[in-house]
Symmetry: C2
Subunit: 159 residues, 2 copies
């Protein structure tokens, strides 16, 4: 993980891709979001989604999975270079969570992370506050999902 000073506004990372199978969609929906258009192909086709659609919370959870995996990769690369590791604080929340288009069975979503703003914390000078937008794009290049994440990131030097 990077320190606050090492992060550039506009920096964009590809987090990875995930293909939502019908089986994945139904399994998540049975446990957390058992609405008919998330459980059955025919019901999905008859719905506004036009097909078996992943729960929006499933899309968010998969994005989280890829964010965590990306964080681990960044951390391991830093360790391999012998750099000091920054331990990020927990996220206080997310804003502007949007499901823009349905994610249907068979869709492959690529997720991206773009840093939008950074500022230092007045109350806690050892921390910076970062806002980054996480976005999902389907195989046709259409945006399907996005949210703005806030994170506490440690500063390299406390001044």
């Amino acid at each position: 993980m990077h320190f606050f000073e090492d992060i550039d506004i506009g920096a964009r990372r590809e987090l990875g891709a995930f293909t939502f199978t019908a089986e994945d969609i139904k399994r998540f929906a049975r446990e957390f979001d058992p609405q008919r258009f998330h459980l059955d192909e025919e019901e999905g086709r008859k719905s506004l989604f036009g097909g078996l659609a992943a729960s929006g919370w499933h899309v968010a959870a998969v994005c989280m999975k890829l964010l965590v995996a990306d964080g681990k990769r960044v951390r391991q690369e830093a360790i391999a270079r012998g750099e000091e590791i920054a331990v990020w604080g927990p996220s206080p929340g997310f804003r502007e969570l949007r499901w823009i288009r349905p994610v249907l069975a068979g869709d492959t979503i690529r997720f991206f992370n773009v840093v939008e703003t950074k500022r230092t914390s007045e109350k806690r000078p050892e921390w910076g506050i970062l806002q980054a937008r996480n976005t999902g794009i389907n195989q046709r290049g259409e945006q399907v999902f996005s949210f703005l994440a806030t994170a506490f990131v440690p500063r390299r030097k406390v001044g």
Copy 2:
């Protein structure tokens, strides 16, 4: 499900309660959010959370599960009374998603839904637009989670 005209601002429903076991927390985390404080009691205790903490996305997914179950109950009660059933549109997204306090293993969270605003849609006069805040409260009465949901709700009469 209710029609737009039947919904009162300020209406509050209890959606139900859920106890987050250590097993539930780890199982969700292994699949979607494998960070150490969601996977291991000792790592949780050493973290800012102070214990094995549920992924925020797990808390959100459980809230969704209870929202869907509540919607089904409301629908079945309406059917039992012989009333016409309103079919709600899909949610275009959520705002102000906040994880206010950690949810630790053994915590029981009660979820509530409160209607905050309603207005008719200019573009689609057959629909109303509802905003409702979903909130999770732990066994000590502390708010742990909330988000503001937007929903399209059909109107009883098209004007």
